[in-house]
Amino acid sequence: MAEIIQTALYELHISLGAKMVPFAGYEMPVQYTTGVMKEHIHTRNKVGLFDVSHMGQIIIRPKNGNLSDIAASLEKLIPIDIIDLPKYQQRYGFFTNNHGGIIDDLMVSNQGDHLFLVVNAGCKKTDIEHLRENLGENCKLEVLENRSLIALQGPKAEKVLSEFSNQIINMNFMDTLKIQLQGFEVWISRSGYTGEDGFEISIPNENVNEFTEHLLNNEDVLPIGLGARDSLRLEAGLCLYGHDIDQNSSPTEAGLNWAISKKRLNNGIRCGNFLGSKRILNEISNGADIKRVGIVPTGRAPMREGVKLFKDSNDTRPIGRVTSGGFGPTVEKAISMGYLETSYTKVNTKIFAEIRGKRMEAVVTSLPFTKLNFKRSN
């Protein structure tokens, strides 16, 4: 087995009383002394600070100096509009494979002379190989091992971060900004994966401890582990790669059609011409056989990943399965996401889950479970 990697913040996590667990090859804090439930609620009410340095940070530069050339190459792998992505703007997207499944979901931003990608820790290796194999000779790939990534999430995140630069308050959801601090540069995007307003901040490894400790000195900021990160993104209806989406799930099945830019769809100016476009475009027009939905158990028992779903309390043929599930501390009830045959995906459809040999009732709901609090431009 490969050696487990510690992030630059490892010692800080330990000193904060973190319970460390292996995650995607990294030793990461699953919770601190505060505990998952309170960490979750704190993030929704104030500000949570997450170490997400396990995620991959990748720079793609054009050898010929022409950014639109590499944007065009990347558009073959990601069905979004990258060519016309405005400077210092970020977009959510995913690498698709030949049969229309998802290799990974990611963020991509235009940094003027290069594109900056943030990918999932567990997919990093696959993504890099995929990029090396498929991007043309003109693309120079840099995988940044010398930078950490933290996320600052919650309604007071803007107030906390604006202490470093008042330009922060002018950023909208998915804007990016580079700011110069004493001797180092931080790269900020107004984004995150909790459903709250917030920022993801890339910082050189040698400066990340000082920067993070400074943020933690603010009484509104608490360190938050992967446990609460998971329940926050579940409430926000966001997919966790490897669970809610994978190499087999298509964007339509996963309810991610919104992420595909219009320009890449039928009748768009750069329609198709990406991996798996045949299936993906067909499903966008005609629908898919299965669909990701929200599921709320009628009782209190959480319905977790892997639980099979049925149309009634007796039928033996599963109509779907749960891909993420647990307890939502903000909505104060058990919540799940999962896939169902499309004919059962109408909101308020009663379904049954089998837990410990017993059939338990649940109801199909729309996603997200909580209101998303992004700072959209007016």
């Binding site: 699953v30 919770q31 505990g35 998952v36 439930m37 309170k38 446990g227 329940s231 209190r300 028992a301 959480p302 977790r304 647990g326 307890f327 501390p329 058990a334 410990r356």
Partner: protein, 119 residues
């Protein structure tokens, strides 16, 4: 109070025992969000999985510490699973049981031995 290796505590009360989980167990489980209790009147054997508990992290079981019959359960926990984290040694007892052989409780660990076990 007596203790089991499965981090349960037993307290003698009249002709039966009260059973709960230790602070150590509650802390290790994390915030509880679901408790499913056995039916009153159930006959149980040592090691039977009789209570389902779920924390924010995962589902687990509480087993019968000894042979006997369930005579009362703490219904409050169904509505307020978080009590287990707040007061595991008091208000958050799980069930009361009548032991088949009441003397068996003497073979369980005392507090000092349990503390040694959990280090």
């Amino acid at each position: 109070m007596k203790f089991t290796e499965d981090h349960e505590w037993l307290l003698k009360e009249d002709d039966h025992v009260i059973v709960g989980i230790t602070e150590h167990a509650a802390e290790a489980l994390g915030d509880l969000v679901f408790v499913e209790l056995p039916d009153v009147g159930t006959s149980v054997s040592k090691g039977d999985e009789i209570v389902v508990i779920e924390s924010v992290k995962a589902a687990s079981d509480i087993t019968a510490p000894l042979d006997g019959e369930i005579i009362e359960v703490n219904e409050q926990l169904t509505e307020k699973p978080e009590l287990v984290n707040d007061d595991p040694l008091g208000a958050a007892w799980f069930f009361k049981m009548k032991l088949t052989d009441p003397s068996e409780i003497d073979n369980l660990m005392d507090e000092d031995t349990y503390k040694e076990l959990i280090g």
